[in-house]
């Protein structure tokens, strides 16, 4: 018998026996969470099931991040419903202003080798720490919260190997946009993506989480990074080094596909409306005038992302026809960016900085697009209607592209302003 993939190992540990891709198993769940858009339905499902308590309340989190703070009374009532249930059951509440579920989970809760289920598709962000983290619907997560278990099919793995030095102005966002453009938005449906290679080894956890976050945009179940020295450093920085453990696929594991990317050939890459796999390099794009630039989200709202954008904006003014919105991913990111002057740089350049959370990404508040408007955003998806008006156009790019675009008012190559 051949070796095991990282996914097979983690799932095997959680069902108490050896497993191989294709098997369907019940696993113990280490951490479950919901957000304010999916949580109320999760709670109603628990009530319907007749189980109004969490199997493991201190490993269950309700995040209020999608409407933060609430822009409508209906959503205020949803928030009250979630707060109330959390209070009654001892479930952890992460209230408005604390930040986006996936990022706060990286900071505070996710551990290498965990199984994490979240009622949000970008739960796969946790793969950045080597956690088998996957998004599910409200009912599945209701079961995971109530019983501490879920069922899953052990996925086959596509190994994505990225080697070479990233050129100046090219970032992890460009790696994942390039990959999705290449394999398409359902190119990895049901599969695990596992990232390896010397480029990946050199990426920070923040940069890895941008890639892990977007694994679902290729249809994948998880986007895994084998925990390594960088993972240990990140966990130590977060004050929880004890969560670290090493874990990797066996050399002779059975990978269904091996995808190679040469980082040295990559360029700043843009996803064009209205699908994430509709990618172009910045050189292929042509002139696109932009009304709004949005920097933030579970994909690119971390301190490192804000630093990249601020370094381009520093001492400059944003284009007078463009509005620029910056939304830190978490309270921690916000505080650090406040303390080191990054927020000041944004505000001085003419950008506006909002409270931490999902911000404009979900079309609920803090930067809703109007009819015919064009936005360049650092978020993970650009589907028609996502940020408000269905006749708006969303382009996706890295924080560097966003900052360059903020200066010129049209989607721009960061290499020309760095």
């Amino acid at each position: 018998m051949g070796g095991k993939t990282l996914s097979e190992k983690i799932i095997g540990e959680h069902c108490g026996r050896d497993v191989s891709a294709g098997e369907v198993v019940v696993v113990n769940v280490d951490l479950s969470y919901v957000q304010d858009g999916t949580g109320p339905l999760t709670v109603r499902r628990m009530i319907e099931m007749g189980i109004e308590k969490a199997h493991n309340p201190d490993k269950t989190i309700f995040y209020l991040d999608h409407a933060s703070p609430s822009p409508r009374m209906e959503l205020s009532n949803d928030h009250e419903f979630l707060r109330d249930f959390a209070r009654k059951t001892g479930i952890i509440l992460s209230d408005i202003g604390n930040g986006i579920s996936h990022h706060v989970t990286l900071e505070k809760y996710a551990r290498p080798g965990d199984i994490i289920v979240g009622a949000d598709s970008h739960t796969c962000t946790g793969g950045a720490l080597g956690a088998f983290a996957t998004g599910m619907g409200s009912t599945d997560v209701a079961v995971a919260i109530a019983l501490g278990k879920t069922w899953m099919r052990v996925p086959e793995t596509y190994l994505v190997e990225v080697n070479g030095r990233l050129p100046k102005g090219v970032y992890s966002k460009d790696i994942i946009l390039h990959l999705i453009g290449k394999i398409t938005s359902n190119g990895a449906t049901y599969k695990a993506l596992e990232f390896t290679g010397d480029t990946i080894a050199g990426l920070s956890t923040a940069a890895r989480s941008t890639i892990g976050n977007m694994a679902v945009e290729a249809g994948a179940k998880v986007g895994l990074f084998p925990p390594d020295g960088e993972t240990r450093i990140f966990l130590k920085l977060m004050g929880r080094e004890e969560a670290f453990r090493e874990l990797r696929s066996d050399e002779d594991a059975d990978f269904e596909k091996h995808i190679e990317i040469n980082a040295e050939e990559l360029e700043p890459t843009i996803a064009c409306p209205h699908l994430v796999d509709n990618t172009k390099t910045i050189g292929e794009l042509g002139k696109v005038k932009v009304d709004q630039v949005f920097i933030g989200t579970s994909c690119n709202g971390r301190l490192e992302d804000l630093h990249i954008a601020a370094s381009i904006l520093k001492g400059n003014r944003i284009n007078r026809d463009t509005r620029v919105i910056v939304t830190p991913a978490s309270r921690r990111v916000y505080l650090e960016a406040l303390r080191d002057g990054t927020i000041e740089t944004f505000v001085e350049a003419g950008a506006l900085v909002t409270t931490p959370g999902c911000g404009a990404c979900d079309g609920v508040h803090l930067g809703i697009l109007g009819d015919g408007e064009v936005c360049l955003a650092t978020q993970p998806r650009n589907f028609k209607g996502r940020m408000g008006d269905p006749n708006a156009f969303i382009y996706l790019g890295s924080p560097a592209v966003a900052a360059a675009t903020a200066l010129t008012g049209e989607i721009s190559d960061p290499r020309e302003v760095m």
Binding site: V24, V26, G37, T38, P40, L41, R45, E48, M49, G50, I51, H66, A67, R72, E74, L75, N77, D78, F81, G118, A119, D120, S121, T123, G135, M136, G137, S138, T139, D140, A142, V143, A146, L147, K149, T150, W151, R153, S185, N186, T189, Y190, V216, G219, K221, L275, D362, G363, V364, I368, R381, F383, K384, G385, R386, M387, G388, D389, P390
Partner: protein
């Protein structure tokens, strides 16, 4: 029997249950008035009880919002037929008791009259006099669907055994 309503490839959850109605997620009958609005604004007015949503590849990609299949079911859709489904959406359909059927939808035209036989794994296109076969659901999903969805399944079994 019900009519087919045709959709293309890559129908995202943002087209099925748009974010601009985020505040209606705890008011599903209201949200259902906007079902699939992003792909076809008049759909909620056209669809009748027992009809079918018929689509191409990768139906339901995007967010985990279970509200998307829930409102498709609320307006009376009997099943969603597509060439392929996004992972989370597919699982959500089964969990809420809405059949999601993977099959070749090329030969089904708009408003064709369809009959679904889950047991035999056959869709009969009455308008064209054709039959389309489809592979059975994975056994665990089939059981969940048979029992009316995951909530009913958990209530029946008192645990998560598969």
């Amino acid at each position: 029997m019900g009519k087919a309503w045709k959709f293309g490839d890559n129908i995202s959850t943002d087209l099925i249950a748009p974010g601009r109605y985020f505040h209606l997620r705890s008011n599903l009958p209201e949200l259902a008035k906007h079902v699939l609005e992003g792909a076809r604004p008049e759909f909620a007015l056209l669809v009748q009880n027992g009809d079918f949503v018929v689509a191409g590849e990768n139906f339901g990609l995007g967010s985990s919002r279970e509200h998307a299949p829930v409102i498709i079911r609320i307006v009376g859709v009997k099943a969603v037929l597509a060439k392929s489904f996004a992972r989370i959406f597919y699982r959500n359909c089964i969990n809420i008791g809405l059949p999601a059927i993977t099959c070749n939808t090329d030969e089904i035209d708009e408003r064709n009259e369809l009959l679904l036989d889950m047991e035999r794994g056959v869709i009969t296109n009455k308008t064209k006099g054709e039959e389309i076969t489809f592979p059975p659901l994975p056994p665990v999903m089939n059981r969940i669907l048979q029992e009316g969805g995951l909530v009913a399944y958990i209530k029946n079994h008192k645990s998560l055994e598969i």
